[in-house]
Structures are given as C-alpha cells and as structure tokens.
Symmetry: C3
Subunit: 335 residues, 3 copies
C-alpha cells in the first residue's frame, strides 16, 4: 500500500480493522518500526482530531513528525501546468511537492473542496499532485471528495461494539447545518460500508443524492423514520447538495436526530465524525447518551491512523529493519 | 496532584520548589519518566516563555509534545450548554476537550481573560471546561485569573538566591503600562507568597486593589517608597483595575521602578515575569543591573514546569514504570 | 564555529562540503550527537525548504526542535535601545533573545530585509541582536543580506556533480520576476563561489550590480549570452536593485533562461534555490530537464544544515559526550 486515499487503495479492509484493534490493545508494540522515518503533515485547512491523532499515531510508531500549515507558514501554490507564474502563486506544486518528498518519508495532506465547481473538486488536484510529484507514500487527511481515515475509524468502532451474529444494519442519515459542508465524509462512509459486512441504508431529503459512484446499489430513502427502523447504528452527518453543487437546499429541523426518533431502532448506537453542531444536527440528549459512540470514534482515529502508517512503513521498505536505503536512493543525483 | 491551576492544588509548595532546584542541577535525570506519554499544549492566546519552557520541560522528561494553536490551527469553541449551535462556533468544548483528552495524557491550556466582564472571567470557563471534559490532568499555562507556573518559578528564584536566616521581605509593586493587563500574575504571586516563608507587602495606586481573596491579611500600601523600605525582593508588575474591572485608572510614571528608588531597600533583587515594557514599567538601569533576577526567573520557568509535570506523571500512574494502563482504560468503549 | 551567518564564519569550506556529503551517505550515523540538546527555530518570515530541512537535520542528529513563528505565535519585538516602550512593541529583543537562549542550545533565525532602507537592512538588526543577547550559537536561516545555508547546499551540489579535472565555470545570472526580492541569495552565492575552486562570472542587466563587498574581483557582464558561453553551471536568480535599493528596474523577458540559451554552454547544469516562478524566471523545459539540479540542491539543504549543526554541536561543547554542563552553566544566577 503506497497510498491511502480511498477504500480502493486497501487490499483487505478487515485486516486493517483487525490491526487497528490490535494496536489499540498495545499502542507501543511497534514503537521502533518508524525509527528515523519522518511523517510530514501538510494542512491547507484547519484540523483538530486529524492533526492530533495522526501526529500521535506516528509518534507511537517512533516516527518523527513535521507539521506544515501551508497558509500561514508557507505560501500559495500554483497547480496549472505550463502557466507563466506572474501572479500571486509563489511556487508550483511540482516543485513544492517534490521538495517535501525529499524531506519526508510519508506525506499526509488535508485539502478541502472549494464547493464552487464540482468538476474542479472532483479533479482532486492537490491530492493527486502530491501523489504525482512527491514520489513518496501519501495519506489523505481528508481530500475534496473523501476522508478514508475517518471511515476506517468508523468501521473499527462498529466492529469493536457489534456482538451480534447477523450483519448490523447501518443507517447514514443527513442532518441540518447552517454551512455548506463537503461530501467527503459521507462519500467515504459509503465506500467503506459497501465493502464491509453490514446492511447499509442511506436517508436524506430530496436533492441530497450523493455521487452515484459511491452509493450505487445502496437503498436510499427520503423518509428518515422508515430508514431508521431496526437500525443498529445511526451515522449522522450533514452535507451540501451534490446535484446543485455546494448548495444548501434544506434547513428542515425535522431532520435533526433526537432520542424519540431512535425508539424504532434496535437500540441503535449513534455515530458522528465530529465536530458536531449540537442541537442543530443532533440533540444533546443523544450525543451524551450511553449509546453515543462519538468519542469512541474519535479515539479510534488514532489507531486507524496507526494501522495505516504501519502498513505503509512495512509495505514500502520504510521500516527500521531495512537501513536508510530509501533515503539514499531518493536524494542521489540522477544524470 | 491531578491539576495545577492554583496554589491550592499543591499539597506542599516547599517540596515542589526543592524538586525544581534538584531538576535544575540534573535536568535529564528523569528523561524516561514520561516515555510514551503525550503533553498537549493548547494556546488560545500568544505565548513565548510558557510555550518554550513547558515544551522543553516535557522533552526533558521524555514526553511527546503536541502543540495546538486554537485560533489559527483550530476553530471557535462553544462554551454554553444546551445552546443551538447555529452561529459561529464550530465545536462544543464538551466534545473538543473530551477528544483532546483521548490523545493527550496531560493537557496544558492558556486562556486569557476578556477583561470586560469580571463575572465571566472569574468563571474560568475555558480552564474548568477542559478540566471537566478532558478527564486528564490539566496544567494552567495562565488562565483568566491565575498563572501558577509563573509564581512557582518566582518562588524558586527567591529560594535559590536568598541566603539570609530571617524571612526575606518581598514587595509586589504595581507599575504603569499603556494596555489593560490581566490580574493573573499578581493574583497568583499573592497566593504563593502568602503560603511561602516570606514577609509580603503590596503597593499600588488607589483603585488597584486586587481581589481580596488573594490579598487577605497582606499589608497594602499606597506609598511605593514606604513599601520598598528594607525590601529584599521587589516584584514589579502592571495590572488593570479589579474594582473598575479591566480599566486603566493611573498612568503616573512616578510608579516606574528606578535605581534611585531601590536605595532604601536591603540591596533588593528586582523581579518581573516578562515581557516587560522597558522604561515604562522599569528603567533599563534596573533591568540590566546585576541585581535583576528577570532572566533567572525565566530560566526557572523550565524547571518549575518540569517539577509540575513530573509530579503529575508520578501521582496519576502515568510514569513509564506502569504500562500503558491509562491509555487502554481511557479508550475502551463503555456500555 | 559558534555562528553560521556568513562564509566568513567557516574556517574551511571544503571540510564542511565533505562532511555534508558524508552525512548524505549515512544521515543517521550521528543520531545521538545532539541528545538532550534543543534547536529553536525562529521564523519572522515564511519558510518551507529551510523550515523542513533544518528541522529534519536536527532530528537526524538526535536533537529536539522547538519552532516559534514570531508573528502568529509571538509578538512584535522592540529593537531600539533605551526607548520608552509605550507603543506597539511588546518585548525588547534583549529580553526575548536572552530568554530563548535559556531554553535553546542553538538558535536558528529567519529575518528578511524590509527592502526600504539599505542602511537599515545592512545593520542586520535582528540577526545580530539574537547573536548578542541569546548567548548561544546562532544559525542564519536567511537574514537581510545573506543566506549561507543555501550557498553551502549549492556548493555541495556542484561538488557532487562535477567530475572534471579543471575548475568548473559557474555563472550567476539574473532573471526577471514581478516582485522585489532580497539580494541575500545572490550575495551569499558570490561569497561562497569566490572561496570555492570555481571560475565565477556574474551577469545581469545594468543597474543590478550587487554590493561590491560580495562581488569584488568577479567579472560582471551585461550580456547574458556572452557570460553563458562555456558555462558548466548556470545559477538563475532574481534580485531587486541594490543601487536603487529594493526597486525593480527591468522586467525584460529576454533574461528568462531557456533551453536555447544553454546551447553555447558546456552542457551546463542549471541551478535555482527555489521557489522558482516557472516560465517567468526559467522555462519549464529547463527546470524539468535532466540537467536541472534544483531538486538535488533542495535535498542537499538537509545535509548542509546537518553538517553545520554537527560542527556547532562539536565545537561548542554541546555534543552528548559532555554532560549537560552548558545547561547548568547558563542558568545559574550570577551575583
């Protein structure tokens, strides 16, 4: 595994979930695996959970971490090829990414969508440029369209708590919000749920259909109550419209999750990736109930990231077992 | 000791001072005590001395450090319970603090007062919320009303330099400033001096009385010269009015400390927590004199922080002796 | 070597180049040399390459690194002596630098010129103040007038790739840009080339003469083509006028480097310190050609920084061999 940017980068999601849970039992077991290896974390957007959990995951593996906030500490990047750079952009992504690849053994990158042009956002310009030009393994810390580290942590949390024999019923439900949010988390959740051993259902108001590539084959209901029936897990998330790209079409508070609504479920556990707008997306009574998994999900972010970094270290000859071969290779002058 | 937010969190201040001085002699003696433990430093306000000294204190103990600047790297937090979060705040402190507690074994937090509403500031909303919701030990890096790490370093500096048999006379004197500053440093200094073996006197212009809770029983003089008489230590600090909350009532340059004024003292050493406005609060001739302790105080910030972190590591089962028990405990799903 | 701020701080540049190349072969050979030592990196201006490469260089030597962004995380510094600090500056450099010297064993500092007053910029106020007041070794991460870490990496790159018997011909050529840039990189490059075993030539439009102190004795041509003839290395860089200080006198795109222009060279390798404005300073076809050394230079930034830090650790009694003597010394109270 060289990249971790979508579920399709993962050969066996069950193995990755198992490994996350093993690391949770013994987080410091591989504390010298990443010795002398450096993780570069590049943030084009704010981050709390991802920033801290990924940083700690790397430290648990003995890696060094260098954090780069591109807005404040860096500069505006140029993404167009062949352009005459006589405007505001200070450095071409070709050069910036290549240079960061020289100093980092693995790069993590966060780059949100603009939510203005669907075409632009779906190009995943930033993420793909880093993959292309840095030459080193790249981990998505949430891109324009996907957030796989979140989804892995979500699946780990389901696996950790599900004791039933049958497949659990997992419902992804849209929730109201005052800001236009990306579709990255729900897209990713769909990708992972469709590969997991669960019965998966989506519910949202009309007009909030996600990109079919991620939902194909999944039942979509416009009645939240009907979708929730018999659910074992309810995943709450707002997103902006994909059809009328980046727009807010509905502010109906009827879509907010309450304890009352959960009565038709199978004592469902409630999930949210955080940050959550309390009493707008979900009522306090739900978030603070014993059946809320939101903090469990957050804690599993650490082990999901650790499992991903461990996998990348091992499958790219970056573990401390091999000598600093990679590094020598990378920085020699090739004529 | 789970919290270090006021002198009242400390059972024995002498023990903590002694330990700071021992660590100063051998800063790397406990360099594996904090192995695999993570200190999270959260800054809602700027910081130089506190940022660097606390970071280094943790590194000296073998801890990992993760720094989070909440303004630039994070987002606006909501503190009101039960509110419908349809405004500018992005995440509730309940969730943000709980999540940070999942990734950090100890949290340090800096949160200045607004200096608008005394009632608001005295609630210590930010600090208390982190204590309540993070579940892990919390160290104040200066809160709305107190700055205990500074005061511990101040006391260490007095102890380190005082060779007399009798109690030294310590004078806290107000000084002019052009900005309205918090009362945290003087409040804290009062708290600590009243518990220390010193003769403590306060002097300031009328209207600058501090909260009585911190000064009760301490002589307060409005004549600076009278207060300075026979002083062994003179602690200079500006603060804004507590009575007319957050206001500047006096700009009288007569209150600036000069060498001349020190002539009536017992060759007093001069202290200031820094940053200091030179030639406004104190004259250059005083700050750069051999009797100035300001750099000694700054250097002792490191060892004060190290003694506090060491104490917290040891008294919360966080030292490397015990296995990663804490961590396992904390992140399991409780049904 | 206590300071690394100009080529004149270096006794033997060849030794430093050799050591950089040795470290490149085995970057982790001295991974405990800097144990328990702390590098403080202070940025008054943005940085990508320097930030990451210097950080990693220190980590490779086992040092701790603390990063301080003075604008966002710190405050405005006062540089004038004796001034009454009743304005916007919050702390005097005397105090700030002295305090940072207490917490750091080596300080790296980046401080760009204002490009308004030549006299002001040439005073190197920030750099010299840190050298004067911090008391610890200081490394320039680019100052108002010089960028020695870049030049060392440049020389390492030339040495690494030159296999001829004779001295290589190295040409520094001005290139167009839309912003007024400092002269630090070309000044520094001149300093180092004049001490290196190369034949050195400068070419730029009239009015772009650099400070003679750095170019004395070096042939300066106004015809780029004539200068390029027979060149083995072509170093491209924009700078603003030194005569009409900080001004842009020429925007002539004829000065942009193209493949065509290189035909008269001896299959010259092309160098640039990055960031580069593509198709404004240099054409894509040149930057992406096999003869472009720009990424080699960037990778050598790491080893240049590592060689410098190693030298400073060893020649200031800071290596882990000696006990924490330095630290004890520094923080005792001197009466």
């Amino acid at each position: 595994m060289k990249y971790f940017t979508t579920v399709n980068d993962v050969k066996d999601i069950n193995e990755l979930v198992d490994d996350s849970l093993l690391l949770k039992k013994n987080p410091h077991r591989f504390s010298s695996l990443g010795k002398n290896k450096t993780l570069g974390l590049i943030f084009l957007n704010p981050s709390l959970r991802t920033r801290l959990s990924t940083q700690k995951a790397a430290l648990n593996l003995g890696m060094n971490v260098m954090v780069m906030n591109m807005n404040e500490e860096g500069w505006a990047l140029e993404f167009e090829d062949g352009t005459i750079m006589n405007g505001n952009t200070v450095e071409h992504i070709r050069d910036a990414a290549a240079v960061m690849g020289l100093y980092c053994d693995i790069i993590g990158i966060r780059c949100f969508p603009g939510l203005v042009s669907r075409e632009e956002d779906e190009k995943e310009k930033v993420l793909l440029s880093f993959m292309k030009y840095s030459k080193v393994p790249v981990v998505s810390l949430e891109s324009s369209t996907l957030h796989p580290l979140q989804s892995l942590a979500d699946l780990v949390s389901i696996r950790e708590t599900w004791t039933g024999k049958r497949k659990p019923k997992v419902v992804l439900t849209w929730a109201p919000h005052i800001k236009a949010l990306p579709q990255a988390v729900p897209n990713s959740f769909c990708e992972w749920m469709r590969k997991a051993e669960v019965e998966f259902v989506i519910t949202h108001p009309p007009g909030y259909e996600l990109n079919e590539d991620f939902t194909r084959g999944t039942p979509i209901l416009h009645s939240q109550q009907q979708a929730l029936e018999g659910a074992d897990y309810v995943y709450v998330k707002n997103w902006s419209s994909y059809q009328e790209y980046g727009k807010i079409l509905c502010r109906d508070q009827e879509w907010m999750l309450t304890h009352e609504k959960l009565k038709c479920t199978n004592k469902a556990r409630v999930m949210h990736c955080l940050p959550v707008r309390r009493n707008l997306e979900v009522l306090d009574e739900v978030l603070d109930a014993p059946y809320s998994l939101v903090l469990l999900q957050a804690s599993n972010r650490l082990f999901a990231a650790q499992a991903v970094l461990k996998k990348i270290l091992l499958s790219n000859g970056l573990s401390s077992m091999e000598t600093s071969l990679h590094e020598n290779e990378q920085i020699q002058f090739s004529k």
